[in-house]
C-alpha cells in the first residue's frame, strides 16, 4: 500500500515538474505569450462590454455614418448604431462561436476517431466513407448547403452546422494515432487484464493523443471565426440582430461604405485579424511545447 502511494506521489511530482518545464518553455516564446495576452485582453474587453450591457442594437437616425470621435469611439454604422458597442458584443459572439465549435468538433472527432482507430474493420470503413463524403465538398460549400437545407438563419443553427461539418480533420488524426497506439504493449497488457474497452480507449490511449488535439482545437478557434466571418459576409450567417465580427463587416459589401465610411469595415476587420493572429501565435507556441516529437 505504502509503495503504491509513493509511486503515485513520484508520478505526480514528475508530471508537475514536466508541467513547470512546459510553462517555462512556453514563456520563453515571446510571440506565443504576446498571442495569449492579446487573446485574454480582447476576450475580457468583449465580456465586460457584454456584462455592462453596452447599447449595440438601437439605431439612432440622427447619428448615421458618424466618423469616430464625438461620443462614438469607433463611429456609427449605416443605420446609426454605435460601432464600438457592436464590435465588443460581436466579439463575444464570434469568440463564442469559435470556441464552442472548435471544442465540440474536436470532441466528436476524437470519439469517432477513437472508435474507428481502435476497432478498425467495418466500423473504420463506414466512418471513413462518411468522412469522405463530407470531404467531397469544400467546407464552406458544405456549410452553405446545410444553411440552404436548414433554411433558417440563427446562432443555434450556425453552431450546429459548423460542428456537424468540422469534425473530419480531428477524426482522421485521432484515428491514425489510435491505429498505431493500439498495438503498443501497454494496451495489450490492459486488454489481457480484461479492462473495459471504453476504459482502454478513453482512459489509457486518449491521453497520449491529447497534445495534437489541444493544438488543433486552438487553431480551429481561429478557423471557425474566419469561417463565420466569410459566411456572414456573403449574407448566409447569423442575422444582423445578433452582432458578430463577420456580420458587422457585411456592411462592406456596399461600395459606397468601402469608399466613404472606412471605420465601418476597418475596426471589425482589425478585431478579427488581430484575434486570429494572436490565436495562431499562441497555437504555434503550444505546438512547440506539446509536440513530443520535437523534444
Amino acid at each position: 500500500m505504502g509503495e503504491t502511494t509513493s509511486i503515485k506521489d513520484s508520478n505526480k511530482s514528475a508530471s508537475s515538474s514536466l508541467f513547470k518545464r512546459n510553462v517555462r518553455k512556453f514563456m520563453n516564446n515571446k510571440l506565443a505569450v504576446l498571442g495569449l495576452v492579446i487573446i485574454v485582453v480582447i476576450t475580457i474587453a468583449c465580456v465586460i462590454g457584454m456584462i455592462v450591457g453596452v447599447d449595440y442594437g438601437t439605431p439612432v437616425i440622427t447619428d448615421m455614418k458618424q466618423a469616430p470621435g464625438n461620443g462614438h469611439f469607433f463611429g456609427t454604422d449605416t443605420i446609426g448604431r454605435d460601432l464600438f458597442a457592436r464590435v465588443l458584443v460581436g466579439g463575444c459572439y464570434s469568440i463564442l462561436i469559435g470556441a464552442f465549435c472548435a471544442i465540440m468538433s474536436s470532441v466528436i472527432g476524437a470519439i469517432l476517431g477513437a472508435l474507428a482507430g481502435y476497432f478498425g474493420g467495418k466500423v473504420d470503413m463506414v466512418l471513413i466513407r462518411i468522412s469522405e463524403i463530407f470531404q467531397a465538398f469544400p467546407q464552406l460549400v458544405l456549410v452553405m448547403m446545410l444553411v440552404a437545407i436548414v433554411n433558417k438563419r440563427g446562432l443555434g443553427n450556425l453552431l450546429f452546422i459548423f460542428v456537424f461539418t468540422g469534425w473530419m480533420t480531428t477524426f482522421r488524426m485521432v484515428r491514425n494515432e489510435f491505429m498505431s497506439l493500439k498495438n503498443e504493449t501497454y494496451v495489450k497488457v490492459c486488454e489481457a487484464f480484461g479492462m473495459k474497452k471504453s476504459n482502454i480507449m478513453f482512459k489509457q490511449i486518449l491521453p497520449n493523443v491529447m497534445s495534437p488535439i489541444i493544438v488543433s482545437t486552438t487553431t480551429n478557434v481561429a478557423f471557425f471565426i474566419l469561417q463565420e466571418a466569410a459566411l456572414s459576409f456573403i449574407g448566409l450567417g447569423v442575422a444582423d440582430s445578433t452582432p458578430t465580427w463577420g456580420n458587422i463587416l457585411n456592411a462592406a459589401k456596399s461600395v459606397s461604405v468601402v469608399t466613404n465610411q472606412w471605420w465601418i469595415w476597418v475596426f471589425p476587420g482589425l478585431a478579427i485579424s488581430l484575434f486570429v493572429l494572436a490565436i495562431n501565435f499562441f497555437g504555434d507556441g503550444l505546438r512547440d511545447v506539446l509536440d513530443a516529437k520535437q523534444q
Binding site: 469522405e132 467531397a136 465538398f137 469544400p138 464552406l140 460549400v141 466569410a230 476587420g269
Partner: protein
C-alpha cells in the same frame, strides 16, 4: 497502372450518386414547393384542381425516389432543368462555369509559382530579407480574412487609384477580349493568390529546409557540385513532391475561397450563382451548382491519386 486508374474512376461513381441523393433529399426536406414559383397566389387558392393537375403532370406527387431518378436521368441526358425564375440552368452554367475556372485556375498557377519561389529562396537564404518578409506575409495572410483582403484591394486599386474595375467580369464596351479579361480578373486573382501563397510558402520553405539538411545534400556538396546545382537538381526536385501534394489539398480551400471572392467582386461565376440561389431559395440551381463543385473536387482528388501513383510506385503496389 491502368487497373489502378480504372479502379479509382469507378470509385467516383457511387460517391457522386450518394452525394447527389443526399443533396436532393436534403433540399426536398426544406419543404419549398416549386408550384409556388410557377403559379400566381390567386390561382393557387381559386383553381385548386388545375394546380393539382399541373402537380400531377410534373410528377411532383411521385415518391421521392422516383423523382430523384427522373431528375438524374435528365441530368445524364444533359438536361439540367430550369431555375425558379424560368431560365435554363444549363445555359447559365455554360457561361459562368468557365469564369470560375478562369479565376481558380489563374490563382492556382500564380500562387504556386510565387509560393514555391519565395519558399525556396527563404530556405536557401535562411534569415535573409526575403525569408523575413515572407514570414511576416505568411502570418498576415493567414490572419486577415480573405474577403477583407479583397475589400482593401478594391479600396486601393479601384477606388483610390482607379486602375482596375471593382466588379463584374465583362464590360459592355470592351474593345479587346484579352484586356477585358485581364482587368476584371486581376484583383480577384490577386486576392485568392495572396491567401494561397501564405500557406504554400511556409510549407515549401520547411520542406526545402528538411531536404537541405539531409545526408544526400551533404554528399552532393562534398562531391564539389556547384551550389546552384545542388539546390536545383538535388534539393528542388526532392522538395517538390510533398509541396505538390499540399497544393492539391489547397484546391478545396481555393473553391471555397472563390465562392466568397466572387461575392466580394460581384464576379459572375458558379460561386456567386450558388450564393444567390441559396439566398433566394432557388433550389434547382443550388442542386446543380453543388453537384458541379462536388464533381470538380472528386476529379481533382482522382488526379492527385493518379499523379501520386505515377511519382511513387509504392502507392500503386500498396493498393
Amino acid at each position: 497502372m491502368l487497373k489502378f486508374i480504372i479502379k479509382k474512376l469507378l470509385m467516383m461513381i457511387p460517391m457522386l450518386l450518394i452525394i447527389s441523393f443526399i443533396v436532393y433529399y436534403g433540399l426536398q426536406l426544406t419543404g419549398i414547393d416549386p408550384i409556388n414559383f410557377m403559379v400566381s397566389p390567386e390561382m393557387l387558392s381559386s383553381n385548386k384542381e388545375n394546380v393539382e393537375a399541373l402537380r400531377e403532370s410534373l410528377g411532383l406527387n411521385d415518391p421521392l425516389i422516383v423523382q430523384y431518378f427522373r431528375w438524374l436521368g435528365n441530368i445524364l441526358h444533359g438536361d439540367l432543368g430550369y431555375s425558379f425564375d424560368g431560365s435554363s440552368i444549363a445555359s447559365v452554367i455554360a457561361v459562368r462555369l468557365p469564369y470560375t475556372f478562369e479565376l481558380a485556375g489563374y490563382s492556382l498557377l500564380f500562387s504556386t509559382i510565387i509560393g514555391i519561389g519565395i519558399g525556396i529562396i527563404s530556405a536557401v537564404r535562411q534569415n535573409g530579407i526575403i525569408d523575413y518578409v515572407g514570414r511576416v506575409l505568411a502570418v498576415l495572410g493567414q490572419a486577415v480574412p480573405q474577403f477583407l483582403v479583397g475589400i482593401i484591394l478594391i479600396q486601393v486599386f479601384s477606388i483610390k487609384l482607379g486602375w482596375f474595375p471593382a466588379s463584374n467580369r465583362v464590360s459592355p464596351d470592351a474593345t479587346s477580349a484579352f484586356a477585358d479579361a485581364f482587368f476584371h480578373l486581376f484583383l480577384p486573382v490577386l486576392t485568392l493568390t495572396i491567401g494561397m501563397v501564405a500557406v504554400l510558402m511556409r510549407y515549401a520553405r520547411n520542406t526545402m529546409l528538411d531536404v537541405l539538411n539531409s545526408d544526400y545534400i551533404k554528399t552532393a556538396r562534398s562531391k564539389g557540385i556547384p551550389e546552384w546545382k545542388v539546390y536545383l537538381k538535388h534539393g528542388f526536385r526532392n522538395a517538390m513532391k510533398p509541396v505538390l501534394v499540399i497544393l492539391v489539398f489547397r484546391i478545396p480551400a481555393l473553391i471555397g475561397g472563390s465562392v466568397v471572392i466572387e461575392t466580394v467582386f460581384s464576379y459572375p461565376g458558379i460561386g456567386l450563382t450558388m450564393t444567390n440561389a441559396i439566398v433566394s431559395g432557388d433550389y434547382p440551381v443550388v442542386l446543380v451548382t453543388t453537384l458541379i463543385i462536388a464533381a470538380t473536387m472528386l476529379i481533382c482528388s482522382f488526379m492527385v491519386d493518379v499523379f501520386n501513383a505515377l511519382l511513387d510506385p509504392r502507392v500503386r503496389l500498396g493498393e
